[in-house]
Amino acid sequence: MDFESTDRTERIIGSEQDREFERELKEAMVRRPAPPGLKRRILQKRSARRTERHHTTMIWWQRLAASLVAGAVLAGGFGWRQMEERRKGEEAKQQLLTALRITNQVLNNMNRKLVEHDRSDDTK
């Protein structure tokens, strides 16, 4: 009986000591004030980072613009080359047709002359 009572008393004292310890711990762990100038340094870094980000964004835009211009120049050059080749092809085709037309005309003339020649031989 005495043992049980002593045990309970010790437990009560123990839990009170726990509570006391927790209270001391809580008092010891109040928030510390931030170092002077912390906010200023944060705002400075934030501003520097924003400037840097803006600068990086500008560089990316410049790169994009340069890429677009280069792309447009290349596409233009390619298109011009294709048009030029088509034009030359068309020109060669016209020249060939003219040559064929002339040849055809010459052959027709020769044929007519031969026919006339044959006819004059027959009349003799």
């Binding site: 726990d18 310890f21 927790e22 001391e24 711990l25 809580k26 008092e27 010891a28 762990m29 109040v30 928030r31 510390r32 004030p33 931030a34 170092p35 912390l38 906010k39 340094r41 944060i42 705002l43 870094k45 934030r46 980072r49």
Partner: protein, 172 residues
């Protein structure tokens, strides 16, 4: 139509810089490192401002990111092979006006010798007055683990305090 909360960055820094710095300091045990962590945390907040929905959200976000960044900073320090606890308070001790009572400083030093998870649970419990459920959400751990860390951490800290503070009082 619900009014959307629009936080002011500078106001959030004003309100929470002490909390963020204290958490970082107690977790890293290094004043300089804690200041670096606090700066990183607020700069990250700046990048996430659009996603912050309420003052409570801002507070919880800051607590969670501070704990995570402090753990990262400690890991980086460990990789570099720096023994933090040897230098605590000697190199980066608080200026005289910020100093606590010697007993409180001693308790904090003992706290810094606890394993990281136990220290995190105790710091959030006793500095931020958070419940085990809130701590669990902040450190992304099961509630049972947090309760166990709190119990073990408190027991270990008390045992250390009993030994060290007796020596300290004897030395006064």
């Amino acid at each position: 139509m619900a009014h959307r909360w629009q936080p002011e960055f500078e106001q959030l820094v004003d309100e929470h810089q002490s909390m963020v710095f204290s958490l970082a300091w107690r977790m890293t045990g290094d004043r300089g490192l804690a200041e670096e962590v606090a700066q990183d945390v607020f700069l990250e907040l700046d990048r996430h401002m659009e996603r912050i929905e309420s003052p409570e959200h801002a507070l919880n976000w800051l607590r969670r990111v501070t704990m995570s960044r402090s753990a990262d900073a400690l890991r980086r320090r460990r990789v570099r092979g720096v023994d933090l606890w040897v230098e605590i308070e000697d190199k980066h001790g608080a200026p005289a006006e910020e100093r606590q009572s010697p007993l409180e400083t001693r308790l904090e030093q003992l706290l810094s010798t606890l394993p990281e998870a136990q220290r995190a649970a105790l710091v959030l419990r006793y500095q931020e007055d958070m419940t085990p459920e809130e701590i669990a959400a902040t450190v992304e751990a099961p509630v049972a683990t947090v309760k166990s860390n709190l119990h073990r951490g408190l027991k270990l800290l008390r045992a250390k305090a009993t030994t060290h503070l007796k020596e300290y009082i004897r030395g006064l």
